[in-house]
């Protein structure tokens, strides 16, 4: 005879006893579940943030190109000469010429629903837009050399500005902001997880205290350690489970809401669809984290306060 793992019948009793602990303790359960859900929610937010940043950065990386804007007095053949120079340069994939007229046409098209802008354009005497060359590189890291090549070109004087540096700045800034948020979010997650562990620990400790008589009797009638400890571990697990379900119940509607807002300026990134597609993985991660926090808290409460 040894302290073997409980049979399925015993397991059923342990789980139902843990469930009763969870239910009877409703007020405390509410607190423990709430704090844990908050921790899990910030954690989910962190996952979303990381995903979103990586998407934005990839998206911007693809969008990176060098736009060369020309002075208004630049002649078309000068521009076309630069274009053919660029096309001979090794790293260039495509070069697209946008004339002043074309630029104006594009601008009008883009704002065709805005009467104010349309009216203003009509008022203008001359075309205020610049002609430009749009350069895409074979490899995104090669833009610096393309810019350098242009700087050294004989017709450099007709070039007004090269807009590559600004894009890079934007990408770096997004990365920077995202890193700061990630780090902050991780800190908050850890802090909240710690609070959740403490609150759950305390709740379980209270259950142990309330049940000291029953525990005493269990020992007296020869209950195995599993039978005495099991219900408290299960109780902790239930806090984790309900906190995760609560988190997911808040998470999906929020993602749906945020996703709709984000579609406005990042139409290629649909957060809600992404997490709907990965619903299994998301459930696994959140419920797994919840159970881990719950059972861990319970475990330390038992270690400290339940002598068997």
């Amino acid at each position: 005879m040894s302290d073997k793992l409980p049979s399925s019948q015993s397991l059923k009793r342990i789980v139902s006893s843990g469930w009763v602990n969870f239910r009877r303790n409703s007020f405390m359960s509410f607190g423990a579940t709430g704090v844990m859900a908050l921790a899990l929610l910030v954690f989910s937010g962190l996952i979303v943030l990381n995903f979103f940043t990586s998407q934005v950065v990839t998206f911007l990386d693809e969008k990176v190109d060098v736009s060369v804007y020309f002075q208004n007095d630049a002649k078309e053949d000068q521009i076309l000469e630069i274009k053919s120079d660029l096309e001979e340069f090794g790293n260039v994939r495509t070069v697209n010429y946008i004339s002043q007229d074309q630029a104006l046409e594009d601008f009008k098209n883009r704002h065709r629903n805005d009467q104010l802008i349309q009216d203003s354009i009509v008022e203008l005497d001359s075309n205020p837009l610049q002609a430009s060359l749009n350069v895409k590189a074979v490899d995104p890291s090669q833009y610096a050399s393309i810019a350098q090549f242009l700087e050294g070109n004989a017709l450099k004087t007709v070039i007004d500005k090269i807009s590559f540096y600004e894009n890079e700045l934007a990408i770096n800034r997004i990365r920077g902001i995202s890193n700061t948020f990630s780090r902050g979010g991780l800190g908050v997650t850890l802090l909240l997880a710690m609070v959740a562990v403490l609150v759950t620990f305390n709740t379980i400790r209270l259950t142990i205290y309330n049940k000291r008589e029953e525990i005493e009797i269990m020992k007296l009638v020869g209950a195995t350690n599993w039978h005495i400890r099991g219900p408290f571990l299960v109780e902790g697990g239930f806090y984790g489970l309900f906190a995760s379900l609560l988190t997911l119940a808040v998470f999906y509607p929020s993602t749906y809401f945020i996703s709709n807002k984000l579609l406005g300026f990042a139409p290629d990134i649909n957060l809600f669809n992404h997490y709907l597609g990965n619903i299994g993985q998301m459930f696994f991660i959140v419920i797994g984290a919840g159970l881990l926090i719950g059972v861990f808290s319970s475990f330390i409460a038992i270690r400290k306060h339940l002598k068997v």
């Binding site: 029953e214 009797i217 007296l220 009638v221 020869g222 209950a223 195995t224 039978h227 005495i228």
Partner: protein
């Protein structure tokens, strides 16, 4: 020191009354038999097993071989009579059919067959103690340890409880009854061990009397 130089052997099937004033060490002796207390020196041997050698995880199985009864009954107020007894089997991992059968049987033995659904607060003191005895019996123990089982009971109920213990003993279970109730001890007779200040002062093997 609660016990001092106690040298005692109890045979299978004996009915032993352990008597003496409070603080004599009766409860300590009983706690040592279920390894709730451990001797600082000396040995407690039960069924040829030195309890000091018994690993902690085996303690639950030791306690299933020994039924214990206390002055304060130690029943769960939130469970009815049936559930209180069933509880002892549930936490030992018995299956449901077995539990129903065994619980009915022991409740009949202690005369509570018609009070299955009653909660402890609906039972008299004597009934509570009989329920506690039923719970102690349900593991079919080889030994029943009763620590002042009549301490909270009036004369009539006390005798009921003792008669029940007597019957259990006649069915072959060893009974160790710790008490300071002289009338009970004198009625039972049998072996009486008198203790005082942690020492055994008298061991009457037959027709023992409570002598102060």
């Amino acid at each position: 020191m609660a016990l001092d130089g106690v040298d005692l052997e109890i045979q299978d099937g004996e009915f032993v009354s352990l008597v003496g004033p409070s603080g004599a060490g009766k409860s300590t002796l009983i706690k040592m038999l279920i390894k709730e207390d451990r001797p600082t020196s000396g040995k407690v041997v039960l069924d040829d097993i030195d309890l000091a050698d018994l690993p902690d995880k085996e303690i639950p199985f030791l306690r299933r071989k020994i039924g214990t009864i206390f002055q304060d009954f130690r029943l769960l107020e939130s469970k009815n009579a049936l559930e209180n007894v069933a509880f002892a089997l549930e936490v030992a991992g018995a299956d449901d059919e077995e539990i129903i059968k065994d619980v009915d049987q022991v409740l009949a033995i202690v005369g509570l067959a018609d009070k299955k659904k009653n909660f402890p607060k609906e039972l008299s003191g004597g009934e509570k103690q009989r329920l506690a005895i039923a719970r102690a019996l349900v593991h079919r123990p080889k030994i029943i340890l009763a620590d002042e089982p009549t301490g909270n009971l009036d004369m009539v109920n006390s005798f009921d409880v003792v008669k029940l213990l007597w019957r259990i003993n006649e069915l072959g279970t060893t009974v160790i009854l710790a008490t300071h109730d002289d009338k009970i001890v004198n009625t039972v007779g049998k072996r009486v061990i008198s203790m005082e200040k942690g020492k055994i002062v008298r061991d009457q093997l037959k027709d023992g009397k409570y002598i102060i």
